[in-house]
């Protein structure tokens, strides 16, 4: 392995992080301060998620990392390699085979099971931050359950744009108590936040951990006459033909023509292996994954 402790962090630090995780699970949606460590990758690049993963991984686990839904994006590769090197854990790209999945900006399309942990990388954990810059003030607002400002913001969106103009990091209320930032996932993913797996959120630079225990009630904020609507591009995946998955949009020529493909690369590959072919896809082969 290497000169570093299993999963890089020392055991004392991991214990400290596990305590914060347990506290977070006990108070769903509450942001627990923790003494975030300096990691050998930059703040803002997943240090919170990496610390949470390091604290929950065991040598027998199988680990998966996605960024924008894909296993092959550069930062996902970098984080996966970090744990291969420092923890020697098995890694996989198959959502169903992983016990611990670290993610940035997506929830996998495949439904997660009770024996899986989803670890989110969080840039700004405070859902009220862009309404109130002061941490002292926002902690007070959470303590008093003072969320009027957020509803006013959503209302102002509707009066100005005719619609709630938040497309990602769409605020949710957890178990009827804390308003929480689900990290910058597209609002398409919000309905999946109620799931069988454990969801842990790590914000390294901001020194906060929060959590959603299995089957916790998670409600996207809305109004009766303007109900929450998860949205995606109005297309099917051009590679696998899926109509139910979140899509990336690609510019494919100088004329600006577009094509759409699943953001969840494992979901797309699995479907193609099963024989699904989209409008511009080719039948699945091993080397052209």
């Amino acid at each position: 392995m290497s000169d570093y402790n299993f999963a890089y962090l020392d055991e004392q630090t991991k214990r400290m992080i596990r305590r914060a995780i347990l506290k977070g699970l006990a108070i769903p949606g509450y942001q627990v301060p923790f003494a975030s460590r300096e990691m050998p990758m930059p703040y803002g690049w997943g240090t919170g998620g990496v610390q949470v993963s390091a604290a929950v991984l065991t040598p027998d686990d199988t680990f998966k990392v996605i960024d924008q839904g894909a296993d092959d994006t550069t930062n996902a590769v970098s984080i996966r390699r970090f744990f291969q090197k420092t923890a020697g854990v098995a890694v996989t790209e198959a959502t169903g085979e992983a016990n611990v999945i670290q993610t940035r900006h997506r929830i996998p399309e495949a439904e997660l099971r009770a024996d899986q942990i989803l670890v989110y990388q969080v840039p700004i954990p405070e859902p009220l931050r862009f309404l109130e810059p002061s941490e002292v003030e926002t902690r007070k607002m959470h303590a008093l359950e003072e969320y009027g400002l957020m509803h006013v913001k959503l209302y102002e969106d509707i009066s100005q744009h005719g619609d709630i103009a938040t497309a990602y990091a769409y605020p949710v209320k957890v178990e009827g108590r804390y308003v929480m930032d689900p990290s910058p996932i597209p609002k398409f993913d919000n309905p999946k936040l109620k799931m069988a797996g454990i969801q842990l959120f790590g914000a390294g630079r901001e020194q906060r951990i929060y959590a959603i225990p299995p089957y916790t009630e998670v409600v996207s904020l809305d109004f009766e006459d303007y109900p929450f609507q998860p949205t995606k591009a109005d297309h099917a995946c051009d590679l696998c033909g899926a109509e139910d998955s979140y899509l990336d949009e690609l510019i494919i020529d100088d004329a600006g023509n577009r094509m759409f493909m699943c953001s969840d690369t494992d979901y797309c590959a699995t479907r193609r292996k099963e024989g699904h072919v989209g409008a511009q896809g080719v039948p699945y082969t091993e080397d052209a994954a």
Partner: protein
């Protein structure tokens, strides 16, 4: 037909190989040694030690070499290394009173015990490029004096004897540690000082400068600036007493600031404090000014709404490792979020346009 783009792993490997080659530069030119950086780029080494919060000139020099001279990158390397080190105890407080001063100046008294010692300073150099250095870096010997055997008491101690400077309450026996506990506000002065001493030199300088230009103006006299070596002592449990485990060079700055008082309390000067690893006097002076500005509440002053008075603003934004990481993360992929914004803006535009054409038709 379209085949999805892959290749993240190979791209990373190739980028690293190219980076290593670029770092080395032209191989016909001799490679820099760690010793050369440590000895001849000493102020860069000092800054890396100060903001990296690790006193080790050799490691700092290595970090500078590895970072191709990018000091924030070097500080990052040191910080990341530092967190992996075991912590086996805390030292006694260093005694700057007993410093072997290389430099000691006071702007408030023309002379004082210990004297004014300029030391190796840029202060009165004329900033003319020395083209001779380009050809030949040899220097003659500097004149030597006998080591100063007399003690160099703090200038503040003389003001203190007259009760002219505000006394400081003693802090907690063991102060909080910024690197071991999450920063929560309001922060103790010990935590504020810890944050400032490892804060970005440019940021702290800018904040200090803003107080001089009128944003929470509080004129500061440099009562004393001293740079030199101090002993680090640590109590070893088996011995039961403190022994010297090493020596570090630090820069200490104490400022005397405007006085306050009332009918019941005679006026007293107040102070700001800066203490930084290495020879880092720009940073130490800046730190003292910002420390003083942040003390408005405990000194019963008004909040003028100045940035340097705002503890949350200063402490949350002075760390260049946090700042650079978050700033630079915006170059990572954001396809998913951008896609959701694309869908939203297209939808909003469709709706707005149909409203406009409807109104035109009516």
């Amino acid at each position: 037909m379209y085949v999805a783009v892959k290749g993240g792993e190979r791209a990373i490997d190739n980028a690293h190989a190219w980076l290593a080659e670029e770092r080395r530069g032209d191989t016909s030119i001799p490679e820099l040694s760690i010793e050369q950086i440590r000895e001849q780029m000493a102020l860069a080494v000092n800054r890396v030690m100060a903001e990296g919060s690790l006193y080790d000139p050799d490691l700092a020099a290595l970090a500078i070499k590895q970072a191709r001279g990018d000091l924030i990158e070097a500080i990052f390397l040191i910080r990341a290394y530092r967190t992996t080190l075991p912590r086996f105890g805390g030292s006694e407080p260093i005694s700057t009173e007993d410093m072997a001063c290389d430099r000691r100046v006071s702007a408030t008294f023309k002379d004082a015990p210990g004297g004014q010692v300029l030391g190796p300073t840029f202060d009165y150099t004329h900033r003319l490029l020395d083209f001779k250095l380009a050809a030949d870096g040899e220097v003659g010997d500097a004149p030597k004096a006998e080591p100063n055997e007399v003690r160099t008491p703090h200038i503040m101690s003389f003001l203190d004897k007259e009760d002219l400077i505000q006394g400081e309450p003693s802090g907690q026996e063991i102060p909080d540690d910024l690197t071991r506990t999450p920063l929560e506000l309001p922060a103790s002065r010990a935590l504020r000082l810890q944050s400032l001493t490892r804060g970005d030199e440019g940021f702290v300088l800018g904040m200090a400068y803003s107080t001089q230009r009128g944003y929470a103006r509080n004129h500061a006299f440099v009562a004393e600036l001293r740079i030199g070596a101090v002993a680090v002592e640590m109590e070893i449990p088996e011995l039961g007493f403190a022994i010297e485990i090493g020596e570090i060079t630090v820069t200490e700055c104490e400022t005397v600031n405007q006085f306050q008082g009332s009918k019941t309390q005679p006026p007293q000067f107040t102070r700001g404090y800066g203490l930084v690893f290495g020879m880092t006097e720009r940073k130490a002076i800046s730190m003292a000014l910002v420390d003083r500005a942040l003390r408005w509440k405990e000194l019963g002053e008004d909040n003028l709404g100045a940035p340097a008075q705002d503890e949350e603003f200063v402490l949350y934004h002075c760390d260049n490792i946090q700042a650079t990481g978050f700033l630079e993360h915006i170059k990572l992929p954001h396809y998913v979020d951008f896609q959701s914004e694309l869908e939203l803006i297209r939808k909003l535009r469709r709706e707005a346009q149909s409203n406009i054409s409807q109104e035109a038709a009516e």
